[in-house]
C-alpha cells in the first residue's frame, strides 16, 4: 500500500528545494585509484578510506554550493547497477568481465533470490554523520537491475523484477527506520524499454510497499559516459506512472527542453515534480537566468510548493569544478525565482 503524505515526516526545506539527483563528479584521481584497486595495487581497506574521504568532500561541496538536500555524492558506486547487484545474495558476478571500473559486470541469476541486508544503511548513517542538512539516498530500481541481469531462473523479466523488489524492500524499510527522509528510486531504463513500464511500476510499488518515508522516482534518458542512451518523449510514462506509490517524479528537462512539462498539466498527477534544470551531458555552465527560466516554465504546470529543483541526472561524468559551478548556478537561479515568489 502507498503511504499517505500526511504520515511522512515533513522535511525542513525552503520552497523549491534544491538537490543533486544523486552522484557528484567522479574525479580523475578517484577513477585511477579504483582502477588501481582492480589491478590489486591498493587494498580494499585503503579504497574504503578513499571513498569516505571522497564522500566527505562531495558533501561539503554540496553544502558550499548551497543545496538544501544532500547526498553522499555516490563515490562508492562504480555505476548505477553493480553497487546493488554485488550486494544481493544469489546473484552471480563474473569479476573478470570488467575492464574499467565503470563497466558493468556480467551478472546472472540462477536461483530464487534469498532475503538479506544489503548494507545500504551504513551509507546513509555515514551521510547523516557529516551533514546537518536534510538528506537523500538513491536506490536503483528493480526494472533497471533486471535489464542488466541474465535471467536464468525466473519465468520472465517481470517475475525477476518483482522478486528483486521483494528483497530490496526490506532494505528500504531499514533505511526509513534509520531516519532516511527521502529515498529516490532511479529507473533510467524505463525510457529504453517503454513497453515494460506497466510492470515496472508494479515492481516499483512492491519495492516501496510499507516504506514509511518520502519516495521519489527519477526517470531519465540514460547517462552512460555522459551521453543519453535513448531519445523520445516522456509521454510513454503516462498514465501508467500515475499508479506509482511515489510522492515525487524527477525528470530531465534542461537538455531535452520543457515540452513534456505539459504532461503534468494534462494528467494532473498527485505526486510532486522534480524538475531537471541543469544539463549534465554538456560542460557549458548554465547561468542563473537559464535555471530560473526552466523553473518558471515548471511553475506554469505545478505550484511552487510541489516543485523540487535538480540537475537532469547525476553529475558523475562532469569535472568537479564544472559540476560545482553548475550546482551553484542552480542554487542562484532558484533563489531568483524564490524572490519573485516573495520567499
Amino acid at each position: 500500500m502507498s503511504i499517505a503524505k500526511t504520515q511522512i515526516r515533513q522535511m525542513k526545506l525552503p520552497i523549491l528545494p534544491t538537490s543533486m539527483v544523486g552522484s557528484f563528479a567522479m574525479p580523475g584521481w578517484l577513477e585511477r585509484l579504483k582502477t588501481d584497486y582492480f589491478a590489486r595495487r591498493i587494498s580494499h581497506h585503503d579504497l574504503d578510506e578513499i571513498y569516505d574521504a571522497a564522500a566527505k568532500a562531495a558533501i561539503k561541496d554540496q553544502e558550499v554550493a548551497g543545496l538544501d538536500i544532500i547526498t553522499d555524492g555516490e563515490p562508492r558506486r562504480d555505476n548505477v547497477v553493480d553497487y546493488f547487484l554485488e550486494r544481493i545474495p544469489g546473484i552471480q558476478i563474473d569479476r573478470s568481465s570488467k575492464k574499467f571500473y565503470y563497466d558493468f559486470y556480467d551478472s546472472s541469476v540462477h536461483s530464487k533470490l534469498p532475503t538479506a541486508s544489503l548494507g545500504l544503511v551504513r551509507d546513509f548513517q555515514f551521510l547523516k554523520a557529516f551533514t546537518d542538512h536534510e538528506t537523500k539516498i538513491c536506490i536503483t530500481g528493480p526494472h533497471c537491475l533486471t535489464k542488466r541481469l541474465r535471467n536464468q531462473f525466473y519465468p520472465s523479466d517481470e517475475a525477476l523484477a518483482m522478486d528483486l523488489a521483494r528483497v530490496m524492500n526490506l532494505e528500504l524499510k531499514a533505511l526509513a527506520k534509520a531516519g532516511a527522509g527521502l529515498i529516490q528510486i532511479d529507473e533510467p531504463y524505463y525510457s529504453g524499454f517503454p513497453e515494460d513500464v506497466s510492470w515496472g511500476i508494479k515492481a516499483l510499488n512492491t519495492l516501496v510497499d510499507g516504506v514509511d518515508t518520502k519516495i521519489g522516482l527519477h526517470v531519465c534518458y540514460g547517462n552512460r559516459y555522459g551521453k543519453p542512451s535513448w531519445e523520445g518523449s516522456y509521454r510513454y510514462l503516462f498514465p501508467a506512472v500515475l499508479d506509482a506509490h511515489i510522492q515525487q517524479l524527477t525528470l530531465e528537462f534542461a537538455r531535452r527542453g520543457g515540452e513534456d512539462l505539459d504532461l503534468f498539466r494534462e494528467f494532473k498527477p498527485s505526486f510532486d515534480l522534480g524538475v531537471g534544470v541543469i544539463d549534465v551531458k554538456n560542460d557549458e555552465i548554465e547561468t542563473a537566468d537559464m535555471v530560473a527560466e526552466h523553473i518558471r516554465r515548471a511553475l506554469a504546470v505545478m505550484p511552487a510548493e510541489r516543485i523540487a529543483v535538480l540537475p537532469d541526472c547525476g553529475c558523475f561524468h562532469l569535472a568537479r569544478d564544472v559540476a560545482f559551478a553548475k550546482l551553484k548556478a542552480m542554487v542562484e537561479g532558484t533563489k531568483m525565482v524564490r524572490r519573485e515568489l516573495g520567499q
Partner: protein, 467 residues
C-alpha cells in the same frame, strides 16, 4: 648498438650488412665515439612515400639516447657513409621554425594553405588531388561501398521507425567533403533505395557538408546539385565539429569522413628504456636547396623565412605573380625536411596530451606492448573524435574510412608517415590509441578491412555504443 629492421621488405633488408659495416668503419676511423656507438639505436625504414620529410640518414638525439634512422629506399653503397657523417655532424640548412611538437609545426600551415588553394594546385599539376592518392582514386567514392553504407543507414532508420524512435529530421554529417562526390553518391543512392522501398525518408534527410576550406565547400556543390535543397554547407573545424554544431548535440544519426584523420595535425611519441619522450621537430630547407631557391626566385638567402611567411599569410600570389608563387611553393615543399630531437616527458612541465588522453591512460594503453616503440599520437584524429561523438544521436554512428594502425606492434614493422601528397601531409592514424580513448568516452571502435578495392590499405572505423 641495437639494429631495428622496421619493415618486411626483403630487398631493402639486404642493406643491413652494408649499414653495420659502415658504422663499424665510422668507429674505426674515429668519426664516432665508441660510447655513442654502444648506446646507438639504428632503425632501417622503408619509407613508402616518394615525397617525404626524410634525409637518407637522419639522427634524433635526446639527453641520454641517440637514434639513427636510415631510409633503405634512398640508400646506396655510395651515399651511405657520407650521409651518415652528414647526419652525425648535424643539419646544415635554413630552419623555418624552432623545435616543437610536430602538431605545432609550420608544416601544418603549409598543409592548411594547400587546401585553401586546392584549385591552384590542381591547375598547376594538371590533375585532381585524388589522383595524388595511392591508387589514384579516393576509396570514398567506390560505388558498392556507398551502396552498402546507404543500406546500413536505411536499416537503422527502419529499425528506429519500428521502435517508434524516428526523429522528425535525419541529420547526417560529412566531415571533409573533398570533391563532394561521396556525399552526392550517398544521397542519390539513398533517394533511390527510399523510393524503391516506399519509406518516404528522403525528404526528411538533412545533409550537413562540413569543411574548413570555403573553396573546397564551393567546389563540392555541383556534386550534390540534385539534392541541394537538403544540403547545408558549413565552415567547420574538423578538430572540433562541436564548435560549429553544438545545437545538434546528440542529434546526428550518421557521421562520415574519408581520408580526413590522416591529414590532421599529428605528433610522435617514443618509449625508450621505459621512459616516454616527445619527438620535437623543426622544419628546415637543406642548404643546397635553399641556395638554389634564393637564386632562382631572387631573394637573399637569409630572407627565406620572410618569403615563406608571406606565402603562408597571403598565398601564392604574394609577389603578384601566382604562377611564380605556385612554382616556388611546390619546390620549397618538395625540399622541406624535418630535423628531430627527443624530449623526455618529465622535462615538459606543460605537457599537454590531446583531449581524452592523459599520461596514466597512455601508459595503460601502452602496457600491452613491450619494449621500445615509436608511434603516432594522432593528436588531431583523437581531438576530432572526442569533439565529434557528442553530436551522435544515441542510435547514431560514426564511420571513418582511413588508413589505421590497429595494433601498436605494427609500428615495429612499417613506416606510417609523415609523407607528402602533393601539397598536403599524410600520416597513418593510430587506431589502437584511438580505440583506447574511445572506450572511455562510451564507444567501442571496430576496424573492418575495406573490401571494395583490391590492395586498398584503407580500413573502415565504425562506432558502437559501449554498454
Amino acid at each position: 648498438m641495437n639494429l631495428h629492421l622496421n619493415h618486411l621488405n626483403a630487398k631493402a633488408a639486404a642493406v643491413t650488412p652494408m649499414v653495420v659495416e659502415a658504422l663499424q668503419k665510422l668507429v674505426a676511423a674515429g668519426d664516432m665515439d665508441p660510447a655513442q656507438f654502444a648506446g646507438l639505436q639504428v632503425q632501417l625504414d622503408w619509407v613508402q612515400y616518394k615525397q617525404n620529410f626524410r634525409e637518407v640518414v637522419s639522427v634524433t638525439r635526446g639527453a641520454k639516447v641517440t637514434d639513427m634512422r636510415i631510409d633503405t629506399r634512398q640508400v646506396t653503397p655510395d651515399n651511405l657513409r657520407p650521409e651518415m657523417l652528414r647526419a652525425l655532424a648535424g643539419v646544415e640548412g635554413i630552419p623555418l621554425e624552432d623545435f616543437k611538437s610536430f602538431r605545432n609545426s609550420i608544416a601544418w600551415e603549409f598543409n592548411k594553405r594547400y587546401w585553401g588553394n586546392l584549385g591552384d594546385w590542381e591547375r598547376m599539376t594538371g590533375k585532381g588531388y585524388q589522383e595524388a592518392l595511392p591508387g589514384g582514386k579516393s576509396d570514398g567514392n567506390q560505388d558498392d561501398a556507398v551502396v552498402d553504407s546507404v543500406a546500413d543507414f536505411w536499416s537503422l532508420l527502419r529499425d528506429m521507425e519500428t521502435r517508434k524512435q524516428l526523429p522528425p529530421e535525419f541529420f547526417i554529417l560529412e566531415i571533409g567533403v573533398g570533391s563532394g562526390t561521396r556525399c552526392g553518391m550517398f544521397v542519390e543512392k539513398f533517394r533511390q533505395l527510399d523510393q524503391q522501398r516506399g519509406t518516404s525518408y528522403y525528404p526528411r534527410l538533412r545533409v550537413l557538408m562540413g569543411d574548413y576550406s570555403l573553396e573546397t565547400l564551393d567546389m563540392s556543390r555541383p556534386a550534390v546539385k540534385d539534392h541541394i535543397h537538403l544540403c547545408s554547407f558549413l565552415a567547420l573545424d574538423a578538430l572540433n565539429p562541436l564548435k560549429t554544431l553544438s545545437f545538434l548535440r546528440h542529434k546526428i544519426l550518421y557521421i562520415h569522413s574519408t581520408n580526413m584523420y590522416d591529414n590532421l595535425p599529428d605528433e610522435e611519441i617514443m618509449r625508450r628504456d621505459g621512459g616516454l619522450y616527445y619527438v620535437h621537430m623543426r622544419a628546415y630547407v637543406p642548404m643546397p636547396d635553399a641556395v638554389r631557391l634564393a637564386e632562382k626566385y631572387k631573394f637573399p638567402l637569409d630572407g627565406l623565412r620572410g618569403v615563406v611567411d608571406k606565402l603562408l599569410a597571403i598565398g601564392p600570389d604574394f609577389g603578384g605573380d601566382i604562377e611564380c608563387g605556385m612554382s616556388f611553393w611546390a619546390e620549397l615543399w618538395k625540399a622541406m625536411r624535418l630535423e628531430e630531437q627527443m624530449v623526455a616527458f618529465e622535462d615538459l612541465p606543460d605537457l599537454m596530451l590531446p583531449t581524452g588522453l592523459d599520461v596514466p591512460r597512455l601508459e595503460d594503453i601502452l602496457a600491452g606492448v613491450s619494449g621500445d616503440l615509436r608511434f603516432h599520437l594522432s593528436s588531431g584524429a583523437l581531438e576530432s573524435f572526442v569533439n565529434t561523438i557528442p553530436l551522435l544521436h544515441p542510435r547514431g554512428y560514426l564511420q571513418v574510412q582511413d588508413i589505421f594502425v590497429t595494433d601498436l606492434n605494427d609500428y615495429r614493422v612499417g613506416f606510417h608517415g609523415p609523407g607528402k601528397l602533393d601539397g598536403s601531409i599524410v600520416n597513418w592514424v593510430n587506431g589502437a590509441l584511438l580505440k583506447g580513448v574511445a572506450e572511455r568516452t562510451g564507444y567501442d571502435l571496430h576496424f573492418a578491412p575495406y573490401r571494395y578495392r583490391k590492395e586498398s590499405k584503407t580500413s573502415v572505423l565504425y562506432t558502437t555504443p559501449r554498454e
